[in-house]
């Protein structure tokens, strides 16, 4: 299928305003009489709060109010929670603090400087409790408890088995096993989360916020605030990056709303970087694996056995949806059928886990690929060979995986071939050998693949839970298309979906395709929650697919109305007309027709010229539901179809490691992705390079570290190391397009794949560079000290021989 606009490299329509510095971010918003909040954060990991003394702070001129957990307990309900009900949290800690950085009190003042002065004057009496930092120790009965009401530090424990893993391993020629730790990193966008709340017209609380999904969850914020949901309006504010961190980011708007209600004036609370790193509510996964994979001698994978302890931190707002996510692609692109997966989600004195690009499936993919690489090395197979011989084949789709999810379409050999065609592996392997022998240099080549599940259905948030509280099955997206009386287009999106993706470009491109108008001419707006139709917002690489479906649905309705008006005006049969290049014309006599402007004028101003029964105006809305979801089995034997729009990617990395310093540097990086039909190759490429760079960060640099005493060690950008342009490689991007049979235009999501595969590819390349020393990346981030320790141990072993 060829399209006029879809699939073309075009400029983004979002960019001009951003380039002149008018992104309209939350911190740019000024309301008359607006106050500012600053937060006192816990310096201790685990303590009972005996008292908070605000006397001095309240004496400071400019300080308007101080609120604490006691106020929250008295005036709020617990925050939204998809985890166990016995693990409740509030925007300010109630009774206990459970990690360094947890919010203890909020000071509202005339400006942020004064608010921070007020924070300085607060005095808190803590009764310290033993810190719970090691998830293994946390599971022991003698451990201190984070949540006495929950009765244990294990938030969730269950084992799932699909097929027969013991039999699969019994029949294997080789079973590899590994102990792996994926360390904490997070989305950490350049802009933090923020909200401005004001008591507004008619007693409605208005909260401006850069959180992404409020159309889906604003009623839950209203519930926390104990106000009717129709008395809360969430106002959309574009975000300066999210990567998961602004997905359902609720505490910031809840707190701003609470403060505004208490002081009766507009209140701005924008996290500073310390707030954000310590307390974003969206630290990424922190998992300890014992993992095994069976192989036959020819490389065929027979089964997978995973035992994972997931260090969830102090709360479990998202439940164990991260593992539900991993189940969407639990076998990766491979054909094996036997999987066992034991999960223990453990509570510790750390910031809770939330969402980060991949939402748990990226960790699973790293584990899977680590095992596949170990199998390949042990069996003497090249990484591309072992993958190729296990791939699900193009003629097997749609393909149901163990656990019940379905892969819609794919051509994994084509992606691998495309990647291999972009880089001469034989040449690099020869060069690797030559440089090692002649110059003593250590070059490594890593190849990895990933599935990129896209378009979540929402059932994975609860399907693993025995008695789910909110077993939702809807995750719709809506769009409203308006043609104004002069024929100009307005597109209304029903959530705040701009975080650095390209919702306006996608929307304008689809409208251009449907109506033959220039994409740049479309004006895009975002609805507030009082006006929004059902909308779930970006997340899980869903938005492009879902909003395209919604816009196309609305467009179909609008096209029909235009053709009906034209047919009536031209006295032609509707089926003889077509819409081409912003004009409705007679198919066999294209010189006869009406422009959109002419039709729009008729639609708005000449009701008597409209077909009988038609009403004035040119506006249509459409709500597009998830294209393919089925119910999970209640007993956990089958999760149903929940993430069927399945992309795929292959990355090939060439890097050099300096064995004396442990510093890696990239020599080449090829990334090939199949995200179905591409809407805009360059913006998809931006997601690939941006995601891969985050994956590199997770692999080599970024770490949200807590020491043994529970002190947080990564509260600034001097310690949380985001890759700069120096650390990012010069990527070479390739695309393969296998359309989805289930979505409009065949689009698949493409927002996360870069980060889902880069860690596996980079880990493999580091292993390969230092293979002679027995290097094996088992813990992320892998730091220079780890690499040098392995090299030195390897060298002294050699010396000993």
């Amino acid at each position: 299928m060829t399209y006029a606009y879809i699939g073309k490299d075009r400029r983004r329509v979002e960019d001009p305003r951003l380039l002149v510095g008018r992104g309209g971010y939350i911190a740019d918003l000024r309301l008359p009489g607006m106050l500012h909040a600053a937060i006192l954060r816990s310096p201790v990991p685990h303590a009972r709060i005996r008292s908070v003394d605000a006397t001095e702070a309240l004496r400071l001129p400019g300080v308007v109010a101080v609120l604490t957990g006691e106020d929250c307990k008295a005036k709020l309900n617990p925050c939204m929670n998809f985890g166990p009900a016995t693990i409740a949290q509030y925007p300010l800690a109630v009774d206990k603090v459970r990690y360094v950085g947890e919010a203890v009190a909020a000071v509202v003042a005339e400006n942020r400087y004064l608010a921070e002065d007020g924070v300085d004057l607060l005095e808190v009496d803590y009764e310290t409790l033993p810190p719970v930092t090691d998830p293994m120790a946390a599971m022991e009965p003698e451990s201190a408890l984070l949540h006495e009401e929950h009765g244990s530090n294990i938030g969730y424990e269950r084992t799932f088995e699909f097929g027969d893993v013991n039999a699969a391993f019994a029949g294997a020629d080789l079973v590899v096993e590994d102990t792996l730790h994926w360390g904490r990193s997070a989305g950490v966008p350049m802009e933090t989360t923020g909200a401005v709340a004001q008591p507004g017209f008619n007693g409605v609380l208005e909260i401006y916020c850069n959180s992404l999904n409020f159309s889906y969850f604003s009623f839950l914020i209203a519930a926390t605030l104990r106000i009717p949901s129709n008395k809360l309006t969430m106002k959309p504010v574009p975000a300066g990056g999210s990567f998961g961190s602004k997905l359902a980011a609720h505490k910031v708007p809840t707190l701003a709303g609470f403060l505004a209600l208490q002081v009766g004036r507009p209140v701005s609370y924008v996290e500073d970087r310390l707030d954000n790193l310590m307390n974003s509510d969206h630290h990424g996964c922190d998992r300890f694996y014992e993992a095994r994979m069976g192989f036959r001698a020819d490389g065929t994978i027979t089964g997978l056995d995973i035992d994972v302890v997931d260090d969830y931190g102090a709360y479990m707002q998202f439940g164990v949806g991260h593992h539900g996510n991993a189940f969407s692609q639990v076998v990766g692109p491979y054909r094996f059928r036997d999987v066992r997966y034991r999960i223990r989600a453990v509570l510790t004195d750390k910031c809770q886990q939330g969402a980060y690009r991949g939402f748990g499936s990226e960790v699973h993919n790293w584990v899977l690929e680590r095992l596949v690489d170990q199998g390949a090395a042990r069996l003497g197979l090249a990484p591309e060979e072992i993958r190729r011989c296990n791939f699900i084949q193009p003629d097997q789709f749609p393909y149901t995986i163990p656990g019940g999810n379905l892969y819609d379409s794919g051509d994994y050999p084509a992606v691998l071939d495309k990647a291999l065609s972009m880089i001469d592996l034989n040449k690099w392997r020869a060069e690797q050998k030559r440089l090692r022998e002649e110059e003593g240099r250590h070059i490594g080549i890593g190849l990895a693949t990933t599935q990129e599940r896209s378009v979540f259905s929402s059932t994975e948030f609860w399907s693993m839970v025995e008695k789910p509280v909110l077993p939702v099955t809807s995750s719709p997206e809506s769009a409203t298309v308006t043609i104004d009386p002069t024929g100009q287009f307005q597109l209304l999106l029903h959530c705040q979906s701009m975080w650095g993706n390209s919702p306006e470009t996608v929307g304008a491109t689809v409208l251009a395709e449907e109506f033959g108008i220039p994409p740049e001419s479309v004006n895009v707006r975002y609805a507030d929650s009082a006006h929004a139709l059902p909308s779930t917002g970006p997340g899980g690489s869903r938005y492009t697919v879902m909003v395209a479906g919604a816009i196309r649905g609305a467009s179909r309705k609008l096209r029909k109305k235009l053709i009906d008006i034209a047919a009536h005006t031209l006295e032609e049969a509707p089926e003889d007309l077509e819409l081409v290049d912003a004009r409705v014309q007679v198919r066999d006599a294209p010189e006869t027709g009406l422009t959109l402007a002419e039709l729009a004028a008729t639609a708005y101003f000449f009701a008597l010229s409209l077909p009988e029964g038609m009403t004035s105006g040119l506006e249509e809305s459409y709500t597009y539901d998830h294209p393919y979801t089925t119910l999970p089995a209640p007993d956990g034997s089958d999760f149903g179809v929940f993430y069927p729009i399945m992309g795929h990617a292959c990355h090939i990395v060439v890097l050099e490691v300096d064995p004396d310093t442990g510093i890696p540097s990239f020599l080449d990086y090829v990334a090939v992705h199949d995200a179905g039909t591409i809407v805009n190759p360059r913006s998809l490429g931006g997601h690939v390079t941006g995601g891969a760079t985050q994956g590199i960060g997770t692999t080599l640099y970024e770490e949200l570290a807590y020491d043994e005493d529970g002190q947080f060690q990564s509260s600034t950008f001097r310690d949380y190391l985001i890759p700069t342009a120096n650390e990012a490689p010069a990527f070479r991007i390739g695309h393969v397009q296998t359309p989805s049979p289930f979505t409009e235009y065949g689009i698949k999501g493409g927002g996360e794949g870069g980060r889902m595969v880069a860690p596996a590819a980079v880990s493999a390349a580091i292993d390969d560079a230092l293979r002679e020393y027995g290097m094996r990346v088992r813990r992320l981030p892998v730091k220079p000290a780890d690499i040098v320790a392995t090299v030195r141990a390897g060298r002294s072993a050699e010396g000993a021989v």
């Binding site: 942020r112 400087y113 921070e116 002065d117 300085d120 500073d272 970087r273 310390l274 004396d660 310093t661 442990g662 510093i663 640099y701 770490e703 570290a705 060690q713 990564s714 600034t716 001097r718 310690d719 190391l721 890759p723 700069t724 120096n726 650390e727 730091k783 220079p784 000290a785 040098v788 320790a789 030195r792």
Partner: protein, 294 residues
Amino acid sequence: MKPPPFTYCDPESVDEAVALKSEYGSDSLVLAGGQSLLPMLNMRLARPEVLIDINKIGDLQRIERWDDILEVGAGVRQYELEDHQLVGELVPLLPEATGYIGHIECRHRGTVGGSLAHAHSAAELPCTAVALDATVVVRGPSGIRTIEARDFFQGRMTTALEPEEVLVAVRYPVTPQAAGHGFVEVARRAGDFALAGAAAVVNLGEDGCFTSVSVGVSSISDTPVRASAVESALIGEAPTENNIARAAEEIVPSVTAADDLHATHDYRRHLASVVVRRAITAAVARAHERRNGT
């Protein structure tokens, strides 16, 4: 993250600055380039009662040569060292090391004196000052005092500067024409604090052997370290790969830095010898180039 309240003073002369320091002593802090102090203020890790901004003091911004000394005013911005002709000719290690300080935006504001007074053990200019046998010039109520760089750095971010004194300049001995220099730094990301760094200047005699070796090492201890044991192991030796590598190991006992988030103690012990070896090797190569007139 906003600075706490302070009384802001922006004297236009060193005398005035010294008078302020004399009156407020350790209740006051000197604001030079602000690249370390402003983050500390913003995070409220520093809470001076008086902030003495020395950026308006023109006297601090001179770069001058007299005899065999290059004097750089405390207020000279770091980026100015990078393409300053006189600095490049007289003390070529200085611009090279300066290029490793943070990123260009930091060097546009950061000053020479600010870096020395902040005395971070991972910083480039303190390490370089130690390697170059520089002298720190300070002014107090009773006048000028000079302190050898190796005595100036006394402990973790502590210096010999008294509370009533202001650092006004640093004097670098002019590097001999035939000498070679090298600077090597290893960091997690380019521009980060060094995990270890080394600055070296060497002279080779007629016989090609080392006649002098000066090496400063950063980020392995509370202060920048002068690698005296390495130096003495090399004097009179030929600059062979083996000799340099063996001598570089002499730095290892000086490594006292404990494990931190970015490096272990063991790693730093190893890395220290690597950067010392590489810096000396680079310096030797330069000395050879100079001798051969290339």
